[in-house]
């Protein structure tokens, strides 16, 4: 399947038809199916979706963190011209932390409680190169300073529990960037933090991204923060991507009913107070018993508009509706846009 000579002009990260399935006693859990994505160097892609939509599993697949003993991974993941799926464990390990780094949702539980933060950072350095202990410590100190830890020469010998939540996430970021990776995957990096700290952490990630020229994948369920940081957005639902668009386009002209539902359920300052937040009715599908047709169909209020009940029986494809804008929906593009504009007008308080 792999072709040795790939064209020179390829996206920095390209995922083709990624599938991750976990066999369980209740049946095969298809956590991710048919996910294709690409990101250009230095850009930020947000992957948005609710719990169980497959966004974290996608990230872990890129990191090579999916345990092959308990899951099957199919498809292709090309990182800077290198195919990651099927790569030997040693090569993946060399890649992790050095080429692709990751930060997680809860910085308290993501840092080891028994080791000093400085030691955890130098451990990351030593995993990828031989360097004297003193030099490693100096690097860790410098990185802690760059991520905005006050008095880093004192904090470097602290244990994680001695730091605040925001500090811990800064330490996580320092640890992730210490080996100057080309890509950073941030898995809900602000979910466990206070709102004021959230903004600081997002700002820090964006500024470091500019400084180091890193490509960022931001995984979140919060469309509110996406607008500030992402260049492009991929919306995931039921283990697949249902809509991809440049951030501005996604907010102005969402076409997939699920995206529309997500946008209606975030509070916005520019909205009339009289407009109620609209939750999406129903629950996400079980990854074992996915609907036969469109995975969103049971919760979609527009599915009866599609002729022949295609939404019930036929899986829609992810198709381009405009340049860089892909939608997985059976509704005709015209009708989707009409629905979307109607909903957005109501949200904006217009008539």
């Amino acid at each position: 399947m792999t072709t040795p000579g790939r064209p020179a002009e390829h996206p920095f990260l390209e995922i083709k038809d990624l599938g991750v399935a976990f066999p369980t006693e209740d049946g095969l859990v298809r956590a991710v199916e048919g996910v294709s994505l690409s990101i250009e160097r230095g850009r930020t892609l947000a992957i948005v979706g609710e719990s169980g939509s497959g966004k974290s599993v996608t990230a872990q697949a890129i990191m090579g963190l999916i345990d092959r003993k308990i899951a099957t991974v199919t498809g292709e993941i090309w990182l800077d011209g290198q195919e990651l799926i099927g790569l030997p464990a040693d090569d993946l390990q060399a890649l992790r932390g050095a080429q692709v780094a990751m930060i997680f949702q809860d910085p308290m539980s993501s840092l080891h409680p028994f080791y000093r933060v400085g030691d955890q950072i130098t451990e990351a350095i030593n995993a990828h190169r031989s360097i004297r202990a003193k030099a490693a410590r100096a690097m860790a100190l410098e990185m802690l300073r760059r991520v905005g830890i006050p008095a880093p020469e004192r904090r470097i010998d602290d244990y994680p529990h001695q730091l605040s939540g925001g500090m811990r996430q800064r330490v996580m970021i320092a640890m992730a960037l210490i080996n100057a990776p080309k890509m950073l995957i941030a898995d809900e990096p602000t979910t466990a933090l206070d709102v004021t700290v959230q903004a600081q952490i997002l700002e820090l990630i964006t500024s470091l991204q500019d400084e180091f020229g890193i490509t960022v994948i931001m995984i979140t369920h919060d469309l509110g923060i996406v607008a500030d940081v992402a260049d492009d957005v991929a919306v995931m639902y039921g283990g697949r991507i249902v809509e991809v668009a440049p951030t501005g386009v996604l907010y102005a002209q969402p076409e997939m009913p699920y995206t529309l539902g997500l946008l209606s359920s975030i509070p916005r300052m520019d909205r009339e107070l009289s407009v109620r937040l609209e939750p999406i009715p129903g629950n996400p599908p079980s990854p074992i018993h996915l609907p036969l047709g469109c995975v969103f169909q049971p919760r979609c209020m527009y599915s009866d508009r599609v002729a022949g009940g295609a939404c019930l029986s036929v899986r829609p494809d992810l198709l381009a509706t405009a340049a860089g804008h892909l939608v997985r929906c059976h509704l005709p593009a015209e009708e989707r846009r009409q629905i979307s504009q109607g909903v957005l007008n109501v949200l904006a308080g217009g008539s």
């Binding site: 990191m63 963190l65 464990a89 390990q93 060399a94 890649l95 992790r96 932390g97 050095a98 780094a101 990751m102 997680f104 809860d106 539980s109 993501s110 840092l111 080891h112 409680p113 028994f114 451990e123 990351a124 995993a127 990828h128 244990y159 529990h161 996580m172 640890m175 992730a176 080996n179």
Partner: protein, 330 residues
Amino acid sequence: MAAYVVRRLILMVALLFVLTAAVFVLFTLLPGDPARLTCGKACSAQTIEANRHRLGYDQPILTQYEEFLSGLFVGRTFSADSPEPIVCNAPCLGYSFTRHEQVLTLIAKAAPTTFWLAIGAFIMWIITGISLGIFAALNHGHWPDRLVMGISLVGYSLPSFFIGLVLIFFVVIKWSWLPFPSYVSPFDNPFQFLQTMILPWIVLAVLNTAFYMRLTRNQVLETLNEDYVRTARAKGLPERTVVVKHALRAGLTPLVTAAGMDLAYLLGGAIITESIFNLPGLGALAVSSVLESDLPLITGITLVTSTVIIVANLVVDLLYAVIDPRVRLA
């Protein structure tokens, strides 16, 4: 930390006072006259009364307790008004009139046997229990895991007297692989010592190994799913480092508590195992002292073994604070 230790030590002393008082009261409430037990069947009322006075059982119980306590710190003399007074130097745990020996001497004679029994079994079950537990956890859901868990269940279900008797029957009597157990100090005859101890060690280790296999497996499985283990992998650390330095370090720490307490408990004497294998340890001594209603000896053994457990508790807590930086002792 120093203040914490001092406070714990004071608490410990207070607890021991309460404990000895409780033992004292319990055994005076028991039916049976301790003075009557000090002489044989043909015993005149006068002898009994004389003995009662010599032993101090004619004093009120509070006075008896006071004398016991002062004996601990300054020593005491039994039957001071008789021609042959018995001097018991501090720390005096009392004098056993049924055995005509100081309690401390009796305990000191029995303690090494129990010590070797406990230490040998402890090392055995810690090594096998933890390594099999880790092995099971790393093969979670596959046949090695199921095999280890199955063995654990069997070991867990077998009572120690049963294993002990079966081992004696086959290994000693039927196959004559080992001579009948007869305790000697390891310093006198190391070979016979090992021949005697190997079976009791196995008996004591089986049950605990079963328990520690399960405990270790569950702990390691739990920590392998921790976020910080995922972080360690995401850093690009070798799997070996991830497992040993990150998962095991955190997963095995709670075992310190369990291991410390189990060892301390065993140091107080393994009653069944010592009886089966005829080992003259603290457990066997405790059983016979109860059967003989030997109050001084019972009190002495209670005091010593509970001291061991309380001290072990303190040591475990201090050790835990050293291992886990989140634990602040204050």
